[in-house]
């Protein structure tokens, strides 16, 4: 501390206001770059999708005979359906399990067990998607194949996505439960409500906004996930009729075909990227609003 005091006194003559202005300008220009990246991404996605939007038009992305990009047929519907089916399936399972995980740490486990369990959830959250994909491909898919061939399927995609988004739900639900005032719990206890009753009818409803926000974030993550689903879902472009059908999701399609796509085909892949981005932004915005007011 003494050295900085000396510094201050020796610098008193410098016009401090001017120094602040310069720093401020520098910081603002750096922050403009940070804010500009999102704009730049949107602009470049639009620019690269433009040829397809112009030549192919939005309508044909849902009305063409199928996805045969080399013959100029660009129907994205089967892949959109596969994307929604995989995400919806994953959320239907991971949602309740994630909330239950948070409830476990908060109300059922001893302090030590809860600590260990939280570490496990955090570790699960930190595993890269390509590692989930590798494990799904070598462990999960063969097991499903024994039961219902071919194994690489919508179901495999859903199960891997469950593992990947469960920590998101659990961690946000945990934060939402923490934000519920302790007095709610004590008040309910004093009224003689049972342990389960308090959790189901007092605490979870009070935390619902944050929990829903977390589920929306998890949905966004599931929709945008690429590698893990690509590696386990089989990648056949078709509308799934059962969970055991192999499917190709939008993100996987981009990753698989971008390497050789040219012209309208390439632009069509950028259109699917743009669609994904808009979907995810919409979900993240709603989730942010909900997370902002935790028990309103």
């Amino acid at each position: 501390m003494t050295s900085s005091k000396l510094n201050i006194s020796s610098r008193l003559h410098i016009n401090t206001l001017q120094a602040d202005t310069w720093l401020r300008l520098m910081l603002i220009s750096a922050a403009t770059i940070a804010a500009g990246i999102l704009l730049l991404i949107t602009l470049f996605l639009l620019r690269e999708s433009w040829p397809a939007l112009l030549h192919v038009g939005l309508l044909r992305f849902t009305s063409d005979t199928g996805w045969h990009p080399l013959e100029g047929a660009f129907n994205l519907t089967p892949m959109l359906i596969a994307t929604f089916a995989a995400s919806a399936g994953a959320i239907l399972i991971a949602g309740p399990l994630g909330v239950a995980s948070a409830v476990f740490g908060h109300f059922y486990a001893s302090t030590m067990t809860a600590g260990i369990f939280k570490r496990i959830v955090a570790l699960l959250a930190g595993i890269p998607s390509v590692v989930f994909g590798l494990w799904g491909l070598t462990v999960l898919v063969p097991r499903i194949a024994e039961w219902q061939p071919p194994g690489a399927s919508l179901l495999a995609g859903i199960l891997i996505l469950v593992l990947m988004v469960l920590p998101t739900v659990a961690l946000t639900a945990e934060a939402a439960l923490n934000a519920v005032p302790e007095s709610y719990f004590r008040g309910a206890k004093a009224l003689g409500i049972s342990h389960g009753g308090i959790i189901l009818h007092v605490v979870i409803p009070a935390a619902r906004s944050g929990i829903i926000g977390g589920i929306l974030l998890a949905t966004a993550r599931a929709l945008g996930e690429t590698m893990a689903v690509l590696m386990v879902a089989g990648n056949v472009v078709q509308t799934p009729t059962s969970p055991f059908d192999p499917v190709r999701v939008l993100t996987a399609n981009i990753a698989l075909e971008m390497a050789y796509a040219t012209g309208d085909h390439r632009a069509a892949l950028f259109v699917s990227g743009l669609t994904l981005m808009l979907l995810v932004i919409a979900l993240a915005t709603v989730a942010g609003r909900l997370g902002g007011r935790l028990h309103g």
């Binding site: 996605l45 070598t138 189901l200």
Partner: protein, 285 residues
């Protein structure tokens, strides 16, 4: 009495559901981890980390992959850190929370954090590789990852700066310090652990990334000789070995084990820095 037994049963059912969920989550994690250790640990050795990749990755080690990964991360962090630090300082110290620019800035950072990695890959290819002419290169991959890592970097540093008590700023102002020197001599040194934690989390995010790198830094598994060379990151290596190389699973697991171990170490350092060290500094003041 009937009502009472319904409640009792519901409570029992809830407890059973919650406990079995916890067992399921912990069980899946242990299953995943033991498979990785089982398949990966036998391949893992010092030689694996230090020898060249052979036969498309089926044989040999991952030395060039490690070097490429390191270079990509270095580029990403060298670009993201100054921008992230400056943005965090601006948000936390110079503009009011309800300022219009602050709102737009905060919102675009939050949205950027949610953009899917494959979209970053598309953008990186269109902008860095094609528009700026960097081609498939470590530079293009690193710059793409810099964009991806920026949000977590900004938010962690911002949290660190916000944790410094307001009295310290007032004290500095009372001593006649300009805001810039208060920032440089008091706030930043105090929040330094948060800066390091942000850096670690950013590295972690970047290191786990595959989809954004396939079309930017590419697949080439030779030792890179400059930043303009294509270089294969560790995560891309795992993907390629398991999907495109028959008989590559063993080395894919070994690489996955290396990746996960590095991520766990990095995340733990970040956690220790952000919670342990930062809190300690604040309390001993």
């Amino acid at each position: 009495m009937a009502k009472h037994s319904i409640i009792l049963h519901r409570d029992l059912f809830l407890a059973a559901f919650v406990w079995s969920t916890a067992a399921l989550v912990a069980g899946s994690f242990i299953w995943l981890l033991s498979d990785m250790l089982w398949h990966g640990a036998s391949q893992l050795s010092w030689g694996f980390l230090t020898t060249d990749t052979e036969n498309a990755g089926r044989a040999g080690g991952i030395a060039p992959i490690m070097v490429s990964t390191l270079l990509i991360l270095t580029v990403a962090m060298a670009v993201a850190t100054p921008i992230g630090l400056a943005t965090a300082m601006l948000i936390s110290e110079f503009i009011a929370k309800d300022n219009h620019f602050a709102r737009v800035l905060g919102m675009s950072i939050d949205v950027l954090a949610g953009v899917p990695s494959i979209v970053f890959g598309l953008f990186g290819m269109a902008f860095f590789s094609v528009y700026l002419g960097l081609g498939f290169s470590i530079l293009a991959g690193g710059l793409t990852l810099a964009c991806m890592a920026l949000p977590i970097l900004i938010r962690t540093i911002e949290e660190g700066l916000n944790a410094v008590p307001d009295e310290w700023r007032k004290g500095a102002a009372a001593l006649g310090m300009s805001r810039s020197s208060a920032l440089l001599h008091i706030l930043l040194p105090t929040a330094a652990p948060a800066l390091a934690a942000g850096l670690m989390l950013g590295i972690g995010r970047a290191m786990a990334e595959t989809a954004a790198l396939i079309f930017t830094s590419g697949y080439v598994d030779r030792m890179p000789s400059s930043l303009h060379d294509s270089g294969r990151a560790l995560a891309v290596h795992i993907y390629d070995l398991s999907m495109n190389v028959a008989g590559g699973d063993a080395n894919a697991y070994a690489s996955a084990l290396v990746l996960v171990m590095m991520l766990i170490v990095i995340n733990n350092i970040a956690l220790w820095l952000a919670h342990g060290l930062l809190q300690k500094r604040m309390s001993t003041s």
